[in-house]
Symmetry: C2
Subunit: 436 residues, 2 copies
């Protein structure tokens, strides 16, 4: 787990603010939930492997019966909130949440045990208008962070199901098929076909698997992707609804221009079991780090806590990976990180500290970020050194002469210039110097 020192914390806060602004511009409302959830809320939702990664809170003598754990994502807590607070919430409901989640994974590059999730979800609306809005909002979020080149891959879980139905497989065989298709970015199309032909995980696929999967990949480049899929898996029971929704979604997305760089990609698998409809994955082509977020429709999860069907669709922006890219870009661009303050008010002597504090308050009221030198007063050379170390560009000082004359001494640290400025004009003077 990581400490974020000021320069990094500032970048993270700036990104969080930008995401919040985008999410709220789409009418998503804030939700905040506790870090600690009842254990039984979390268990059994993510699959057996993920269950092992949940951080449990140690039992306490006074309430050992109440087992609890740190949240693993923000989606299951959302489902719990919708179930618990039905009377207070009007569906459809759009919410955003940006908050840390915890997973007991072995640390590796770009994977952390505590990391931020940045989620938007629409609960209570069926496909596909809400899905299109979620996709548009996700793309707007990447653009706001400076990733205008983001590509959104779009598919439908029903296409994946139809693929399996066409081959007559399910269970372990279906899992092996999906996971193998998902390796294309690492092993290429031929690698996928070889792996499928060879089988594995105790699975031997039917002979039709490889040609069908070749067809699936070829459908990516068809002029009419849904028509190509219709020809490929159209007879499977899941194909009908899936292709209708996919056609509509694509019409919304491509017809409106709100999702530039969207790609219908029938080979997009998106691992999570709970997806039921359209699925999305965001990729930054220049990033070389694969997926930077994804989402989709999950019509079963929320309802499973309520005993009735509640449709839902969401997207999770992978901020941690984007922050790695942003840090690399900033470092490549050079330039000093921002300073913590615009102005250091120096302190001349104990008797004049009150005057320095009053000047600082005046400058803050003028919109400046101002520090009073926090060490003992006097010894100006030390205070200038402090300003330089803290990258504070301007120093303001009121000695007894300045106080009597109604002026402030101003030192520009970069230009090594000094000036005396009338007290009433000092905020404006300093703002002008900062602007220059």
């Amino acid at each position: 787990m990581r400490d974020f020192l000021p320069d990094v914390a500032r970048r993270r806060n700036g990104c969080i603010d930008a995401l919040r602004r985008v999410f709220e511009s789409f009418g998503f409302e804030p939700l905040d939930t506790p870090a600690v959830e009842p254990l039984e809320v979390l268990m059994g939702k993510y699959g057996a492997e993920a269950d092992k990664l949940v951080f449990e809170i140690a039992g306490r003598g006074d309430d050992a019966s109440a087992q609890s754990a740190l949240r693993y994502d923000l989606t299951v807590p959302l489902a719990r909130v919708v179930a618990m607070h039905q009377a207070e919430l009007t569906l459809p409901w759009k919410r955003w949440q940006i908050a840390p989640v915890w997973r007991a994974e072995r640390p590796q590059r770009g994977r952390f045990r505590e990391f931020l999730q940045c989620d938007i979800d629409v609960v209570g609306a069926p496909a596909p208008v809400a899905d299109a809005e979620v996709a548009a909002c996700a793309v707007a979020a990447y653009r706001a962070l400076g990733f205008g080149d983001v590509v959104l891959r779009v598919n439908h879980r029903g296409v994946v199901r139809a693929l399996c139905e066409t081959l007559g497989i399910d269970g372990a065989a279906a899992g092996f098929l999906l996971r193998t298709i998902d390796k294309e970015d690492r092993i290429g199309l031929e690698g996928v076909c070889e792996a499928l032909a060879a089988g594995g995980e105790g699975v031997t696929l039917p002979a039709g698997a490889v040609p069908l999967v070749r067809g699936l990949f070829a459908a990516r480049d068809a002029a009419d992707v849904p028509a190509a899929l219709e020809a490929l898996v159209g007879r499977a029971p899941s194909a009908g609804t899936a292709l209708t929704e996919l056609r509509q979604l694509w019409q919304y997305v491509s017809g409106s221009g709100v999702v530039p760089n969207a790609r219908l990609d029938p080979a997009l698998m998106r691992g999570l079991d709970y997806y039921t409809g359209p699925v999305f994955e965001a990729v930054i082509p220049a990033g070389g780090i694969g997926s930077v977020g994804g989402g989709g429709r999950y019509d079963g999860l929320v309802g499973s806590m309520l005993g009735r069907d509640i449709p839902a669709v969401g997207f999770s922006v992978g901020l941690e990976r984007l922050l790695v890219l942003l840090a690399e870009r900033e470092s490549a661009a050079g330039g000093a990180p921002p300073s913590a303050a615009d102005v250091l008010v120096a302190t001349f002597s104990h008797d004049l500290v009150a005057a320095s504090l009053a000047l600082a308050a005046e400058l803050r009221a003028g919109g400046l970020r101002v520090e009073v030198f926090p060490g003992p007063p006097g010894r100006l050379a030390k205070q200038y050194t402090y300003a330089d170390k803290r990258r504070i560009p301007l120093v303001a000082l009121v000695g007894s002469d300045e106080l009597a004359a109604g002026v402030v001494a101003v030192k520009d640290m970069a230009k090594r210039e000094e000036a005396r400025v009338a007290r009433a004009e000092v905020s404006g003077h300093l703002r002008t110097r900062l602007g220059g």
Copy 2:
């Protein structure tokens, strides 16, 4: 632990933003640390009673040796950060952190197991300039939240020590004395004197205790509080430095006007063991809920992790209690909570959804918060009902007629007015309606 639904989450986010702006206007820098700390970092810092309230993470098979726990406050993690990242940090260092902490307390009104701490600290600067800046920043924070009437009680731990030295007591007797003085707001001065005379917790105080404590309370109202304290406890070893620092701090604070409603209060005890110098406590007189924050100088804690002395002073704004007051004030003031969006773009038919999505994107680019109706297109009455339930004041619609004519139909939900507005003017038109 609590869920914060949108109206409450919005109020909390607004307060956090306001605090952040104030903290950054004083040159404090952001720091973010993990929720989970090594157990040995936390234990033994807060006292035996508090140690019992630390939430431990259950041991895991793969790394059972690494015991960890949820952070109990933000001060001990700050000390750990200063010790761990010495090479990257320049002292004096000013940091703010607003983040949840966890304590396994029995839940009661206004006390929660997960709650936000909002801290500012200056590490590496001696008393008392930094102390005055911290006090000024704290008061500015309360004012930014709407609590212009905040009173800041100011004392010095050395005064408390001098009191005990004058009586020749320490250990359990000193603890009993301090805790009893601290009950004044509940049992009054006479109650305190009776309790001191009676003794308790196995302690009998010397006969001089009651007159001395009466003198301490009387010193509050002296024209020159430090002089009154000098007369009362001036011969005790701790009195010298304490009264010098208190005099200087008071000169800074009262001479500059940056802390209106500051009160030198020698009966302010502030429980935490680690305080060593000036101490502060904020009270909202009209609130009836006692302390809403406090802080002070703790010159031993940070250094204890490094083996050398590092002075530090900080303040923690008690946001959770303030939020209770703010909610009461808002509810007393009446009025509807804010809406999640300014405009609902209705959807006329499947064929026109793309046009609605494009209109929404245009309006957002014009600075509006816009939702596209997330349900199936058509049935406008249902969409108007949705806008009303979500308190969205304006609905915009492009049917095929509007599209052909280059206009947008706008409905004002409160006035029940409808208008047709030229496409190029619609953002401006809607902003004007919102302003009115």
